[in-house]
Symmetry: C2
Subunit: 759 residues, 2 copies
């Protein structure tokens, strides 16, 4: 028998058939009897006092059933950093002040969307405009307008990481570089915008269907903001059209729909328009980087110092974590003996900046990988070689921060070196740039202050052998329902179609932190594996009793066959053992439980994936326009559970990370986002996609289920840096601010030309 029966096989997604046939019902598609439609009135001003709100004209509109404003709320401020009350700074409907263009002011429920939209126009809000601040470097000036009262210099949070003696180490360097970079914002652009249907009933129970990355967070936050018991709030995540970090904080669709439903005792549905999605949901954190790197002549990196200020926008949201992680990942994937990071997050009167796929790391990697290439060139060392000399290795400890177990970085470097060699000598204006990276498999930080295990699962085996798997994991398109079903089937020794998964419904699934920070394969996977093992153990007790073999023999189940490991032909049918075991337990179905919270793995993550990406570009030196020709990624994510899933993640990541490097941006005018539509916001489309290739590296992560770890989010880290390095290799110009648009390349080429001719 082969090692695994399910894991590593090419299966279709468990939710695939329903999705490709259109049968899957997203929140967007759902209709409840007697349901109303809500719309949210938002601030047109970046910073203003609300002097008065007059809803009387709107209420008179036929078809309007109810209107809520800040007065209808409990007046609490919320936030996801619940351990730190001062960071819970966001009213879900503003009472007295708005802080960005898009801050919610009121919400209407009506018989249809058009009526609700019309009602919004009839609400009269009197504002007193306040001076506003948009740039983080302006925000921290003494005389800047205060976004939040009492927050000195608008500094929301600061983060410091340090080990070794950085100043002393710089003195011992043969070469020290100081560079500045700017990283832009980026929109998540989920296929499904934020939406929710809330249904409050007369027994005092609230049920919310919503497109979310974390049903449990929504349950807890809604209960808190609405004054309900957690157990009276049930949050259900139907099939979900993407999240990418935008959907694990409480949003105004969820809150306003719930508040309206509580007021009206009728179901209320709110769906963000695409414009709301661009302007009033959160976005990737823009960052201004100062970075100093010191090396010995032979390329050994001795010290690094990084200072970052981020544009926070109006509220804390997940921006505090992005601030920490960009500092942490600025030390990746190299062994810096001396390192110092200082990060500052400034409040501004712009849409809040928060988590987005990569979570601070794409910025760190763009900056770090650009600078290391510059350093390598100055030292006359090959870019692969300098990374090899300093790269992390298995069982490496990032001082005081992280205990890395598996790490295949060096194998990835070898593979990419081989790939570059295979490409041979390139024609003029072509270049290959590389970027190395590492990423986390779920976060250890518990700023949310959950008292529950981070992940938990329950497995129930029924009399016919069918297995019900209950998990709080949120499949938002990344495929966790499939991955977890595969893990369950493998561990239990049954087939994938023996599993029926029940996920992300807080009424029936155990609490779980949801889908962010690349948690689910490792954290939920561990819980599911443990629950399946618990159930299997109970079955094997009965099988062992029946078979009466020497106790030194191991029993296991593979493909529904309960057998002696060393004599696989000697066994019993899984179905027969299930029947006997349930009879033995006086008719009680077999129940297995598992839970996982990382322990003794440092402060950041229980495991890290690694990779190296090579981007090949072809630049038109006349115009600065360039084409992504090929993106090849050597990637290790431990044991691959679902190979088809990884391929999809890789393609998607290159599209998204390529967009971050190449074209995506959110330009603003006085806090107003200028391109809030798919038409104006430039994404990489299918026709723009480069040829992609994945070089899978075989590693085994001891902390992961069957040796698995993160695959997908880390892949968004390298592309911008690799493109920047490729442009430099192709035409010799270095772009320090994202995105690397053709215009910037053109200007840089012209400046270079002028500098040359002026010599």
């Amino acid at each position: 028998m082969s090692k695994y029966n399910v894991i590593g096989t090419r299966v279709h997604r468990v939710d695939g058939p329903d999705k490709v046939t259109g049968k899957a019902k997203y929140t967007f598609d759902m209709v409840l009897p007697n349901m109303l439609y809500g719309k949210i009135l938002r601030s047109p001003h970046p910073h203003a006092k609300i002097l008065s709100i007059d809803t009387s004209q709107a209420e008179k509109l036929i078809g309007v059933k109810g209107i809520v404003t800040g007065k209808d709320t409990l007046g609490k401020k919320q936030g996801i950093w619940r351990r730190f009350p001062e960071l819970c700074d966001e009213e879900m409907i503003c009472r007295s002040k708005v802080r960005y263009i898009g801050d919610p002011v009121a919400a209407v429920a009506a018989v249809d969307e058009d009526t609700a939209a019309e009602a919004l126009d009839l609400i009269e809000v009197e504002y007193e405009l306040l001076p506003a601040v948009f740039d983080p470097l302006d925000a921290i000036k003494e005389d800047a307008p205060q976004v939040h009262e009492g927050v000195e210099l608008n500094i929301n949070v600061t983060r410091h990481i340090e080990w070794g003696d950085v100043d002393e180490a710089f003195k011992q360097c043969d070469l020290v570089r100081e560079d500045h970079f700017r990283c832009s914002s980026q929109a998540h652009v989920c296929m499904e915008t934020h939406d929710a249907i809330a249904s409050f009933d007369h027994s005092g129970k609230l049920t919310v269907w919503t497109s979310t990355q974390a049903a449990y967070y929504m349950q807890v936050l809604l209960a808190d903001m609405l004054g309900l018991r957690e157990g009276d709030v049930r949050v259900i995540k139907p099939p979900t059209g993407g999240g990418f970090g935008s959907k694990f904080e409480l949003d105004s669709a969820q809150f306003c729909a719930s508040l309206l439903s509580m007021k009206l005792c009728q179901p209320v549905k709110i769906v963000f328009t695409r414009e709301e999605e661009f302007t009033a949901s959160k976005r990737r954190t823009p960052m201004i980087y100062y970075t100093k790197l010191g090396a010995k002549k032979d390329g050994t990196l001795l010290a690094k110092e990084v200072r970052v200020i981020t544009e926070g926008g109006a509220y804390t949201s997940m921006g505090a974590t992005a601030l920490y992680l960009t500092g942490f990942f600025s030390s990746f994937p190299y062994k810096y003996p001396n390192y110092r990071y200082d990060g500052y997050r400034a409040y501004t009167n712009t849409a809040p900046t928060s988590a987005m796929r990569g979570f601070g790391a794409p910025q760190a990697v763009f900056v770090g990988e650009s600078q290391i290439d510059m350093m390598a060139e100055e030292l006359g060392i090959d870019p692969v070689e300098i990374r090899r000399r300093n790269g992390m290795t298995p069982n490496y400890e990032v001082p005081g921060q992280a205990n890395i177990q598996s790490c295949g970085l060096h194998q990835c470097l070898d593979k990419i070196e081989e790939h570059i060699k295979q490409r041979g000598k390139l024609p003029p204006n072509r270049g290959i740039g590389i970027a190395a990276y590492g990423f986390m498999s779920g976060g250890i930080f518990n700023w949310f202050d959950t008292p529950y295990a981070f992940s938990a699962a329950v497995v129930r085996i029924n009399i016919d052998g069918k297995v019900d798997l209950f998990t709080g994991a949120c499949d938002i398109g990344q495929g966790s329902d499939t991955t977890l079903s595969m893990i369950c089937a493998e561990e239990l020794g049954v087939r994938l179609d023996d599993i029926r998964i029940h996920a992300a419904d807080t009424g029936i699934c155990p609490p779980d932190l949801g889908a962010w920070g690349s948690r689910e394969t490792l954290m939920n996977g561990n819980a599911v594996k443990m629950a399946a093992a618990d159930a299997k153990r109970q079955l094997l007790e009965f099988a062992g009793a029946k078979m009466g073999a020497n106790i030194v023999y191991d029993l296991d189940i593979k493909d529904r066959w309960v057998h002696l490991v060393d004599r696989p032909q000697k066994g019993l049918s899984y179905f027969d053992v299930v029947k006997e075991a349930i009879r033995g337990k006086d008719g009680e179905a077999i129940m297995g439980r598992g839970h996982y919270t990382p322990h003794r793995k440092g402060m950041i993550s229980p495991a890290y994936s690694f990779g190296v990406q090579a981007a090949e570009v072809e630049v038109d030196p006349e115009t600065g326009r360039y084409k992504l020709v090929n993106v090849t990624t050597a990637h290790e994510s431990g044991t691959v559970i679902n190979p088809v899933g990884i391929e999809g993640q890789l393609e998607g990541a290159i599209m998204m990370a390529g967009g971050y490097g190449f074209c995506e941006d959110q330009p603003m005018d006085n806090g107003k986002i200028l391109n809030p539509s798919i038409g104006d916001y430039k994404l990489i489309r299918s026709l723009d996609m480069p040829e992609t290739k994945i070089l899978e590296i075989d590693t085994y992560e001891p902390e992961g289920p069957f040796g698995a770890k993160e695959a997908g989010e880390g892949l968004t880290n390298p592309t911008a840096g690799a493109i920047g390095n490729a442009i430099y290799k192709a035409v010799g110009v270095r772009i320090h601010d994202l995105p690397i648009t053709p215009e910037k390349v053109f200007r840089a080429l012209r400046a270079k030309e002028q500098a040359r001719s002026s010599k």
Copy 2:
């Protein structure tokens, strides 16, 4: 805080004070009210039919209370290989036939030992003498006398191990050697001879105090042989004066005392005389070796073939296992790509040969390490280098046999190489020989067919924080009570004197296979650690609830302080937590359970220790007399639990293994052992001991408790081989049969001289 508080510290043995003050009561010392003394009548013939036994005169002797013969038994044959009834071949009192000089024929209970001894002389046994066979090579001849009826050619068991294509591989070798060796017998010479006190009461319960390595085996075997339920037999092991492999089979002291006590309903004590100990207890298995070794010019070992015939003596006993293990360890500690072993055990009319410290491995290592030195010399390769080139490394699989995880052999070789260099150039007639070895940490084989876990432990924490540890482990002098108490204290986070150990009493301790095959540190250690962890987990539940810390923090206990691992100053007193937890459990003492049975570790052992020993000898070329000058051992046994214990094991092992190599032997005349007394049996005494040095190598065994594995038994493997190689280095003669007596060296030197002068 340092990593461990108890483990690795220099503590005195928990049983030390009682032993050094003489307070400890061995079975030998015990006296029960109304106790009788027993003696056993033994066969003076190597092979004979019992025609009649007349006990009438003996019964009339004043003071004699009872006599039993074979007729008083159930007529069953017993053996420790219970899964194979044909290998259970030993009557505890012979009914119709005796098979060696010492086979029990009758037993007497009397008011004192002298009376019992006198009675033996009055028992008339009429024998019909049968032709006997003593040498295994004679025994397998067609016309040899049959020791057991129906056993063809007297072949008791055969064993075959094979992997690769041995014949093909030999063809590819540049050099092939074929050699013959003979390994002698050895007596265990325990300080305390075999003894037992049996007390049968009117309720049908039998209690037996006995000097044993495996109380649970004795319970089960006695119940079976006496027709009692296992639960009606309680075996208690008082402090025990050594075992070394001689005391884990049922012996005639235990059986005869029990049978007499059942007959008389009075306690009966039987203590073997030293002569009985030498002649009628079991002994190390003598072996005749043919071994063929093939190598490439560069020293790479390609193939090995081994054929062995062992002198079995009259019964199977543990000789079947020794036969397997000598074949398995003949492949150690090298990576043979092709290997074949065939072993045969022949019944003979001599005292049964069985397990003794090393269990077949000292023979394998003497032979193998002699031959590899011969091979190295012929190839012109340094002895260290040839071992380095072929030595096992971590995570090596012996094909189909063993999965080795930790392995520090190469570090041991480095250390020994350094040691040899430090000794510098030696004077004439001095030489240093080395031998490398590996050994098991407990056996996986379950020929005994226990239905219980191999090891189990229970930990009970009482209201005052005192911990009762219950284990079936047998401390026979090797120090397991101390080691297990240390493991329990460390895991639980208390001090060594918080532990009260209750061991090897089948009435109150969980079943356990006892002390053999270097089981206890790893197997019992795992069970004890698990039981302590189970108890600790229950305490930490209450501590965690009380402290209310963020759930990502780890709690632990160290030195009676329950605390957050990352903030050790934040904590609670162990004593307070115990009180609260017991209150929380409605007054029930905290109970932790643990059990261990190896799984998925191949067929032999869950872990292996490794080492290299260098013996330095000084030979007087005139007489062949030689002196062991220095024995230095580089040894790795994973994490060292009890450093003082390891030092003691090392000293003891060199004394015992040096004796095997140097002087110990059991010459016979027609099946009669000629030197059955401490006076005539030559042991290495304290004044003969060489200087010894241990070079500890740091390894970590993932399967062992805190990373620990075997330490002590493996150390008996290398010395004979190292001595042989040292003699060769000193004076150029190679001795092929053990022991390497001065006489043999003298004869070899003379033969060499003659060969030289005849040239």
